[in-house]
Amino acid sequence: MLVAIAWKNIWRNKVRSLVVIIAVMLGLWAGAFILAYVFGMINQRLQDAIGNEVSHLQIHHPEFSKDFDPKYVVHRGDSVLQMLLHDDQVKAATGRVLANGMVASATTSTGGKFIGVDPNLENSVTSFQHNVVAGEYLTNDDKNKIIIGQRLANKLKVKLKSKVVLTFQDVDGTIVAGAFRVKGIFQIYNSTLEENNLYLSRSDLAELLKVESEVHEIAVLLHDPEQVENYVTLLQTNYPLTLTQGWKQLAPELGLMIDSLDQYMIIFLVIILLALSFGIVNTMLMAVLERVREIGMLMAIGMNKMRLFTMISLETIFMVMIAAPTGLLLAYGTITWLGTSGLDLSGLYQEGYAAFGFKSIIYPQLDLIYYYRIMLLVILTAFLASLYPAITALRLDPVKAIRKL
């Protein structure tokens, strides 16, 4: 009986009901969307830094980072790399040969970091090919070709096909030098990297360094970023003679930044939810206010408070029940759509920032479990929000209420 009355009440005043329904729907949508956006944002940031630079984890000789001495190669690096490439958890892995030294052009010279890479494997880990803005990326057949950053090119005053000479120490401490032709020029969001790093083929650098098929660094990308810490521990136990480090140790500033952003997001979310609940309370209060006369009448003809309260609560339940699935569906639609096409924010940047090659396309994403959580949270908020108006309705004095306009 009450159920039927409540249901009819909802449709008696469509505008009012729609306002409440849309408020709850919008709340659900906003909650789910913001959460998906946060996840997408964190993911994108990780990909910027991890994808371009540090990777999920790196393996070195324990002494390597302190000394940067070419003799500190990864113990049995080749077999470690083969194992990684065949592991299901690993998305991509690559070995690198590294050297620090001087790079000279016809006009000037400066210090640099030389990175010997397997062109294809490197590309699978860092997508380095995307950064090459002029000329071409390395291939496996390249001999004595090199890729340098735009800033370094400007500094050395070299162009594509110019020759540069690299000078550094080999494993025995002897000074060696090699001439390379610039095959490509890269740009990257981090200007320090653009000024310091030079990429050449691993075999070229290994030959000069006399490290044969050894590597100094193995960079690994996992399928599941959550597993980095576990995987680091696993590798460290399996290969005790090497040093395995996750990205948080490799780039502590990055870890700190992402962790603190996470915390800020929680505060943002709380504020958004507060706005949502206040919107609902307000609308509900207005709705009750509008029905003062009607509620007064019901009380006057003998409806008791308990029943009245149940009726108003039932109305809320019905409206939330209509709003929840539609809101979730709407959120799901938006998130799936933006998750594939991406939310391109570059139009919002101040002029000039795009010139840095700073791309910011965010792909919102949300696990199913969060939809449930958001739904529970919003439904709870909606009920709590409707409690106050319902109680206000109960306090009405029927005589005064009827007399009101």
Partner: protein, 404 residues
């Protein structure tokens, strides 16, 4: 006439007015809080990174930044000092003689950055004294060095060991010296931690045969958001012989990152505005529905619809402005509270922050622009939404409205 009617209408149904106003008050409050914590977060990142080493503004001899050699140094004159100290907005400044050289222990050699500093000033600008992990901080007259921890480890050196410095001095003279290590400093950034050596300024000027010369003047300012303005003023005051650079030019990648962050955070505000807008719209809509009868009566007894709209619009403007003002006023103590008693970061993150030498707190910004910016935005939203009742009144059928 409009004003009197509108004012009376507002107080005729106090509860309705309060609910509408509350939706605006709360909207302003939340928007300000969100903006304040967003700006606070970005501000803190700027401030922290800038205080690592670079400082907010640096002054060099013209051309130094592109070609960092001692030949591009300049004389640290008193007149320059006075000019900078008397400039409004500047807290303090520190002189440095920065140079690249090889440093060596018995068996190891490494290229690194040798910085001649004024110990007292440097601790004010970059809190170098707080970064000491072993040994002691330098004094002006010392003939000893501070070494970054990572570098010490690399060279296998400890406090009181001897460090050899070998490099090139002013105008190509050779520079060589050996110094006892007085202390170790720890930098959070691995890059800095592997490459910094500090010497008292006097001693470094002697070592590099550059008496009275400095390469860099690091300036600490009251408010880092004013770095750009002060940069321009100083550049004008100092003339073409010097280059004045704010942190955005010194560390373009940090600026990029912060700008990217600001843009990404815009979405939060946009979603908040959507919720706010709908919350306000809901109240306005219900208010209009509730007053149908009243409007019907007024139109039926001959009030012109345009005049009625004028009254209702005036009401909305008054309510919106009152709401925006009280929301802003209410947000001041709220933001100030969080500014004075910030939310502490706990758990793993707290330790990470402390490792970096940061205070583990969430910082709220109290930049005045936040307050009126958000108040004005919400006010605009509220005013745009109040077009709805207008639309309703203009299409009003008095008979149908009264029958409801």
């Amino acid at each position: 006439m409009y004003l009197t009617l509108a004012w009376r209408n507002i107080w005729r149904n106090k509860r309705r007015t309060f609910i509408t106003m509350a939706s605006i008050v709360f909207a302003v409050l939340l928007a300000i809080l969100l903006d304040s914590i967003k700006e606070g977060m970005l501000f803190k990142i700027q401030e922290n990174v800038v205080s690592f080493y670079t400082g907010s503004i640096q002054i060099h001899h013209h051309g130094y930044w592109d070609e960092k050699t001692l030949d591009n140094s300049f004389i640290a004159s008193d007149s320059l000092d006075r000019l900078i100290q008397s400039h409004p907005g500047i807290k303090t400044s520190a002189n440095r003689l920065e140079s690249f050289a090889l440093v060596a222990s018995d068996h190891y050699t490494k290229g690194c950055v040798i910085v001649g500093i004024e110990p007292d000033q440097e601790s004010l600008v970059t809190s170098l004294d707080n970064k000491i992990t072993e040994g002691q901080y330098l004094t002006k007259e010392d003939e000893s060095v501070l070494l970054a921890e990572g570098l010490a480890e690399l060279l296998r050196l400890k406090v009181n060991d001897t460090l050899v410095i070998l490099g090139q001095g002013y105008h190509g003279t050779s520079a060589a010296g050996k110094y006892p290590i007085k202390g170790l400093v720890k930098f959070a950034s691995p890059e800095l931690n592997k490459s910094m050596v500090y010497l008292p300024l006097k001693e470094s000027q002697y070592l590099f045969s550059a008496p009275n010369l400095i390469t860099t003047k690091v300036i600490d300012i009251e408010n880092i958001n004013e770095a750009g303005v002060i940069e321009g003023e100083l550049a004008d005051a100092l003339g073409a012989n010097y280059e004045v650079m704010e942190w955005k030019n010194l560390m373009p990648e940090l600026d990029q990152m912060i700008e990217g962050e600001r843009t990404e955070n815009l979405i939060f505000l946009v979603v908040l505005y959507m919720l706010i807008a709908f919350g306000i719209f809901g109240t306005v809509l219900m208010m209009t529905v509730e007053r149908q009868y009243e409007f019907g009566v007024l139109v039926a007894i001959g009030m012109r619809k345009l005049k009625l709209s004028g009254v209702v619009i005036t009401e909305n403007i008054i309510i919106s402005i009152l709401g925006a003002i009280s929301g802003t006023l209410l947000s001041v103590p709220a933001v100030l509270y969080f500014y004075k008693f910030p939310i502490r970061i706990t758990g793993e993150l707290e330790r990470a922050y402390e490792n970096f030498g940061f205070e583990p707190i969430f910082y709220f910004s109290i930049e005045p622009i936040i307050f009126y910016r958000q108040a004005i935005i919400v006010l605009c939203i509220a005013l745009v939404l109040s077009v709805y009742p207008l639309f309703k009144i203009l299409n009003l059928e008095p008979v149908a409205a009264m029958r409801d």
